[in-house]
């Protein structure tokens, strides 16, 4: 039940009075009010973890800064969230991102910072004036997805880029609920791994690629664009479309290298649409709780290679007098198809023809098949393939 706005509680955020719906976190209230708070580890589909410390804010009466993702708004609270309003927040962000960079290659990574998804850490570090405080040695292993160790064709982990926010493992636990990957090791050797260091193929992993999609730094990356030396995401064209597998109808962006295949274009990866900004009105919890509209399964995310497969039919074929199928021109094949169907119709009547349409094809194509069947060949013997 959405309450009337004038009955809702209020917080003061950076000097502004803002109403909220009980249950909303400070981060949620801020982001829909146009107050930008950086976050690396939060996703509305996940329980808040407060792991990355990027979203800390000042709350009056609290000695320490609090993670806004995990702090519920309380009536009458005074909150300062922007560096312009708080030197303490400014100092915090600068030091935090400088510290992150001691364990992160930043823009010096050999594969570039855009290896997977756009690197949110590097962007935030730039935005908040992080400094070079030197580099620490990386003691973590990255066996997950390693080519010699794990022949899964999709997912590869790079510990150099990982900030241990555990967004990937939490997604795997909380959304996909398969718990195929986990935080492993201790202290400075803590890393992301599978149980017993198995290949992802030998775990409960369902290849949904959610770990790749939520990773803020590209540490969880797609293997194929890297091993095939394909262009980075920023250079790809995104085309919004509807998945072609089951009846859920997920929306996603095909990321296309338009120059590949002699200008015909090649799909390099599939990404989820960037979320639209949340509506400015107070939101009951659940509504903003991360719709699955941006969640994918393995077929949707990775199952597009068939389009580029060498087995694709490329030439019309017509069966000859020898009983074999032979290549033909389009004109020859269309004429043969029309003549063949007309022949059956003349010999056996209109209802001796049957048209099997496809629930895999578009509405327009199904419309044309039934129109062809009814208006051109005069029969209602038309049915889509999923009927039985």
């Amino acid at each position: 039940m959405i309450q009337r706005t004038d009955q809702l509680p209020t917080i003061e955020l950076d000097g502004r009075q803002i109403t909220f719906h009980p249950g909303e976190s400070l981060l949620e209230v801020a982001s829909r009010s146009g107050v930008q708070i950086p976050t690396l580890c939060h996703d509305p589909r996940l329980d808040p973890a407060g792991a990355c410390r990027s979203c800390l804010v000042e709350v009056e009466g609290q000695r320490r800064l609090l993670p806004s993702c995990a702090t519920p708004a309380v009536d009458g609270q005074k909150v300062t969230a922007s560096p312009e309003h708080s030197p303490r927040i400014e100092r915090h962000r600068k030091s935090l991102f400088s510290l992150y960079l001691t364990e992160h290659p930043g823009e010096d990574h050999p594969d570039g910072v855009e290896r997977g998804a756009p690197n949110k850490l590097v962007r935030a570090a730039k935005a908040f004036g992080a400094e070079d405080w030197g580099k620490l040695e990386n003691l973590r292993d990255d066996l997950l997805g390693d080519r010699s160790h794990d022949e899964n064709p999709y997912i590869q982990f790079d510990s150099d880029l990982c900030i241990l926010c555990a967004k990937c493992t939490r997604y795997c636990d909380e959304v996909e609920s398969v718990s195929a990957i986990t935080l492993a090791g201790r202290g400075s050797e803590t890393t992301i791994a599978t149980p017993d260091g198995r290949s992802l193929l030998d775990t409960t992993c369902e290849m949904c690629g959610g770990c790749v999609a939520v990773c803020p730094t590209g540490a969880m990356g797609e293997k194929k664009p890297k091993t095939h030396k394909m262009p980075v995401e920023a250079e790809l064209e995104k085309v919004r479309t509807t998945c072609n597998y089951c009846g859920v109808g997920c929306q996603f962006d095909l990321n296309v290298d338009p120059a590949a295949r002699e200008g015909g274009g090649e799909i390099v990866k599939v990404t989820s649409p960037t979320p639209a900004p949340p509506p400015p009105t107070p939101q009951p919890r659940g509504r903003t709780g991360g719709s699955t509209a941006r969640t994918r399964c393995g077929k949707g995310r990775f199952g597009y290679d068939f389009l580029h497969h060498e087995d694709r039919l490329k030439t019309p074929l017509v069966r000859g007098a020898d009983g074999e199928l032979h290549p033909a021109t389009w004109d020859e094949a269309l004429a043969a198809a029309a003549a063949g169907l007309r022949g059956v119709q003349e010999r056996h009547g209109k209802d001796a023809l049957a048209f099997v349409s496809s629930s895999r094809c578009t509405v327009e194509e199904n419309f044309l098949v039934q129109k062809l069947s009814r208006a051109v060949f005069g029969t209602n013997n038309v049915h889509q393939c999923a009927a039985t």
Partner: protein
């Protein structure tokens, strides 16, 4: 679906029956997982242990094909314990009395004997369903792929109507569509009894409308449904046009169908890959994949969404809509369509439920607050916002019709000769005829070949060990696969996926169709399994999966 995918998370009770949602509709399953995390009660009715049964409050593990018994017994509890919604029944339904009379004979105790589900569990589920306001039913082909599939759906509808779980958020009766555009193909009129928008072909006025629109005389006779077409192939039906379907892999009892297909005089196949049906084709037209053309798909929740061209088809292939226009022209028709947007307009503007939708409107549509796009029909005019859930305030047909149904056994049940009950279905890693997914390295590595699940007890009787090549035989044919010895299936039941061309499960299946829809009984037939004597296929390794968690206990002792 009467309701929308986004409403699932807010449901308080989910009754999932005949749907292995995590494998067939993974992203809908994520909404269900989320609802359960937030405290909803999940009840799963399925002959197999599936992923969802792990998080379900109760798993009603019924014997395959006994759904009517389970559902009538639930109705029995609801009626006899006075849990019906009297006001809703009086205002919005008809036929209640007959159903109440019929289900009297379906006591939970008797149901336990037939279905194998404890009577107390049936009572519990019925009470919980009837007394929870936001209670939704979700089903898939486990309900419809039976010779009595329509009865199963009626029995479900009876539960919905007698409890008034209709016309509000997070409730209703929700069939999850198996393929990307099953809904759209039906909407577009690719059915023997309807023009676009479910306008009957034997309705004089409708026919006159389309005769005027298309300038031709149209047949008043309803056509054959797909099941009948296949049975009449080679006899009454002598010519086929087939687009985007491998009938020789997907239709039931395919060996008999192959024999009939030899007598078909002419077949045109429009496809993107060579498939089994191509052996019977006289003309093959190379077509396009979904990323190579413009158009619209309609999802399970009646949502029309755009499909957009991202890449060119391979040189030489054409978009399906273009081929159909070319074929119509070659057949002497002069159609005015130039683009998919044109075609869509003719489709939508003459069907009242879709008349408010066009490519232009879909393209202008942004994402809503939950990230969804597109428009859900009914959407009768350009200002209509679309319809999230049906039957709000009033049942669409006026009065919701309750239909009394009696249990009818499946067409072919196990006997002395064929002692096991075979069901078939889809898995997470492949998709139907798998012409696409088996050409993907990752999906195919995860599940490289055909397998049959059988219970340790049945395996032991037949001296079969996990991983053995076995032969599965029914009255219609036999195929080889690898044995998965698993407690996922009940004793006496076996299960196979339909995806594999080298081991076509549909060689085995029964082509007996439902009396109304013609949908075949893929879910129940009698079968026997023996060790394969001369197995020539590969001995596949099946990589990790959720179901292997209890693998050690599943090994035959």
């Amino acid at each position: 679906m009467t309701n929308s995918i986004r409403e699932i998370r807010d449901a308080d009770f989910l009754f999932v029956i005949g749907s292995n949602t995590t494998e067939a509709h993974p992203v809908i399953a994520m909404e269900m997982k989320r609802a359960v995390r937030d405290g909803a009660t999940l009840v799963v009715a399925d002959p197999r242990r599936i992923w969802l049964t792990e998080i379900a409050e109760k798993h009603l593990q019924l014997n395959p094909g006994t759904d009517v018994w389970l559902l009538n017994a639930m109705a029995h509890v609801i009626v006899t314990e006075g849990l019906v919604d009297k006001a809703f029944i009086e205002t919005h339904t008809e036929g209640y009395e007959a159903v109440a009379e019929t289900v009297k004979r379906y006591s939970p105790e008797e149901a336990e004997r037939v279905t194998g589900i404890p009577a107390e569990d049936i009572r519990w589920a019925a009470r919980k369903y009837a007394t929870t306001k936001k209670a939704g039913i979700y089903y898939t082909l486990g309900i419809t792929e039976h010779s009595h599939g329509t009865d199963n759906v009626y029995a479900l509808a009876n539960l919905v109507l007698m409890t008034g779980h209709l016309g509000g958020e997070s409730m209703g009766l929700n069939p999850l569509r198996g393929q990307n555009n099953v809904q759209g193909a039906n909407d577009a009129g690719a059915t023997p009894i309807y023009y676009p928008g479910y306008q009957r072909v034997d309705d004089e006025k409708v026919r006159a409308k389309y005769e005027a629109l298309w300038g031709v005389e149209l047949s008043p006779e309803p056509g054959w449904n797909l099941n009948e077409m296949m049975k009449k192939a080679g006899d009454e039906i002598r010519g086929f046009f087939v687009m985007g379907e491998d009938i020789i892999l997907s239709e039931p009892n395919v060996l008999a169908l192959e024999e009939r297909m030899n007598r078909v005089e002419f077949l045109v196949l429009q496809e993107i890959f060579p498939n089994e049906t191509m052996r019977f084709a006289d003309v093959v037209l190379p077509a396009s994949g979904f990323a190579e053309k413009e158009g619209v798909f309609v999802n399970s929740e009646r949502r029309m969404q755009r499909v957009r061209k991202a890449i060119d088809p391979p040189k030489g292939a054409r978009a399906d809509w273009q081929i159909l226009l070319d074929l119509a022209a070659a057949s002497g028709a002069s159609w005015h369509h130039r683009t998919p947007a044109d075609i869509f307009d003719e489709f939508a503007q003459h069907a009242p439920n879709f008349a408010g939708i066009s490519h232009a409107r879909l393209d202008a549509q942004g994402e809503d607050e939950d990230g969804y796009t597109g428009l859900q029909w009914p959407c009768p005019d350009p200002d209509h916002p679309g319809t999230r859930y049906l039957h709000e305030g009033r049942v669409l047909r006026g009065k919701g019709l309750l239909t009394a149904v009696e249990y009818r056994p499946s067409d072919e049940l196990p006997d002395e000769e064929y002692g096991l009950l075979l069901s078939t279905g889809r898995t997470l890693y492949h998709y139907n005829a798998a012409t696409q997914t088996r050409r993907d390295p990752g999906l195919d590595t995860k599940q490289p070949g055909a397998f049959v699940q059988l219970h340790p007890r049945d395996a032991k009787k037949r001296s079969i060990r996990d991983g053995d090549p076995v032969t599965i035989t029914t009255r219609r044919g036999s195929i080889d696969a690898i044995a998965h010895v698993s407690r996922q299936v009940k004793p006496g039941c076996i299960w196979m996926a339909l995806h594999f061309a080298e081991a076509r499960a549909n060689v085995l299946t029964n082509d007996k169709g439902d009396a109304v829809t013609g949908t075949a009984e893929y879910k129940v037939c009698a079968a026997e399994v023996t060790k394969a004597s001369d197995y020539t296929g590969e001995l596949h390794e099946f990589r990790g999966s959720h179901y292997q968690a209890g693998h050690a206990e599943d090994a035959p002792s």
